[in-house]
């Protein structure tokens, strides 16, 4: 029943290493693809930026996925206190992101330059995007 048995630690650590490794490469792949698309002009400029955005979203989500994986692992190994702790950390991450969405500050308007329309399309409603397009 010793929890720090190297074999058990190795299995959890091994899976976490796999998740983070694969996730990082996938994210980098998306970002590189997007940058190549943007530079070569193969697709429209928007397509390249969307690949890069997808890569960044995956990178942000990766640590949260890692916490979720740990939570499931602890749950399956009947480690309920650690499973609860993992769930708590996951909840804080989600609440923090939602707080950021709620407090959508003046960053948008101030940085609205050449890429403003694209930003607006990604992050605000379609009506706002139309307004930004007319302004720029």
């Amino acid at each position: 029943m010793t929890i720090s048995a190297p074999a058990i630690v190795d299995r959890l650590n091994g899976r976490l290493a796999w998740l983070l490794g694969v996730g990082t490469w996938a994210s980098c792949g998306l970002i590189v693809t997007g940058m190549i698309l943007s530079v070569s002009g193969a697709g429209s400029r928007g397509a390249g930026a969307q690949f890069v955005s997808a890569g960044i979203v995956l990178l942000i989500a990766l640590p949260a996925l890692r916490v979720a994986m740990m939570g499931v692992w602890f749950l399956l190994s009947r480690d309920l206190d650690f499973a609860l702790i993992a769930a708590f950390v996951l909840a804080i991450i989600l609440v923090s992101a939602l707080l950021g969405a709620g407090a959508a500050v003046a960053v948008g308007p101030r940085t609205r330059g050449a890429h403003g329309a694209q930003l607006a399309r990604s992050f605000t409603s379609s009506t706002k995007a139309t307004a930004a397009g007319q302004g720029g």
């Binding site: 929890i3 720090s4 190297p6 630690v9 959890l12 650590n13 091994g14 976490l16 290493a17 796999w18 983070l20 490794g21 996730g23 990082t24 994210s27 980098c28 970002i31 590189v32 997007g34 940058m35 943007s38 930026a49 890069v52 955005s53 890569g55 960044i56 979203v57 990178l59 942000i60 989500a61 990766l62 640590p63 949260a64 916490v67 740990m70 650690f82 702790i85 993992a86 708590f88 950390v89 804080i92 991450i93 989600l94 609440v95 923090s96 992101a97 939602l98 707080l99 950021g100 969405a101 407090a103 959508a104 960053v107 948008g108 101030r110 940085t111 930003l119 990604s122 992050f123 605000t124």
Partner: protein, 258 residues
């Protein structure tokens, strides 16, 4: 390692990027650095995943508070505070550390479940270690999370002394575990910054790639370097960053008018 802390000053001062956009790009690089270098530490059993998830409750709470504060606190003030914190950290690291002795006292309650074993390559055998003063460690981690979210840095430079002096972990374990935690801490604030639109793909994308590349090299290095050299290196980095932050506090002040 500690790359995030250079990105905000370079982007804002040399490339004229908006402060919030620079912080957004930097926090992405912190995640890239953490995730990119995590695998070898995990496989070597240097990372204590249980300890990490416990401390992450404090760092993510700190990050959530930092996100809320980020619009309120003036940035030059933060740079000045951070320069002081870095100096204190460097002082702590420079002092000769007491050798971790296994005294006869029985380990205390729940925190005992965080104790673990790691393989030390330079010694050639496994080393058992225990976790001391968990409440103090949690308090410091909350502060580290707060600064991480506010400044867009990993604040690994803060976490490592915290784990070293409060929790009294072996330095390789503390480096690997804090590096593991940085990604989750940064994700808590990066999610918020992304929702705000402060993360611009054309700036954050290339920086993410660079940080992953740098992290892969850094992790290989940490495996083969001895603990004493690592300690010296961290002291040097901490001092250099303290000087840099002091200039930033004054520089940003002067730059606001122009």
């Amino acid at each position: 390692m500690a790359s995030g802390i250079f990105i905000v000053p370079i982007l804002t001062m040399f490339l004229g990027v908006d402060m919030h956009v620079a912080i957004g790009a930097s926090i992405i690089s912190v995640i890239g650095c953490s995730c990119g270098s995590a695998a070898p530490f995990l496989r070597e059993r240097l990372t204590n995943a249980r300890l990490a998830i416990v401390l992450e409750t404090a760092t993510t709470l700190g990050a959530a508070c930092g996100v809320l504060l980020s619009g309120v606190v003036p940035v030059p003030v933060l740079y000045a505070i951070f320069a002081i914190v870095l100096l204190v950290s460097a002082w702590q690291m420079r002092l000769p550390r007491a050798v971790v002795t296994v005294d006869g006292s029985p380990t205390r309650g729940w925190a005992r479940r965080l104790d673990a074993v790691y393989p030390d390559r330079t010694l050639g055998h496994d080393v058992a270690y225990r976790v001391d003063r968990l409440p103090a460690g949690l308090g410091l981690m909350y502060g580290a999370g707060l600064l991480s979210a506010l400044l867009g840095i990993g604040s690994g430079v803060l976490k490592i002394p915290a784990m070293d002096t409060a929790l009294r972990l072996p330095i390789k374990v503390s480096s690997a575990t804090s590096n593991f935690m940085i990604g989750v801490t940064a994700a808590a604030s990066a999610g918020a910054y992304f929702m705000r639109g402060a993360i611009r793909p054309e700036i954050a994308g290339p920086i993410a790639l660079g940080s992953v590349a740098g992290a892969l090299l850094g992790a290989r290095l940490l495996m083969v370097v001895s603990a004493d050299k690592l300690r010296l290196f961290f002291v040097a980095v901490l001092l250099a960053l303290a000087v840099q932050m002091s200039f930033a506090a004054l520089g940003v002040h002067a730059g606001i008018g122009g």
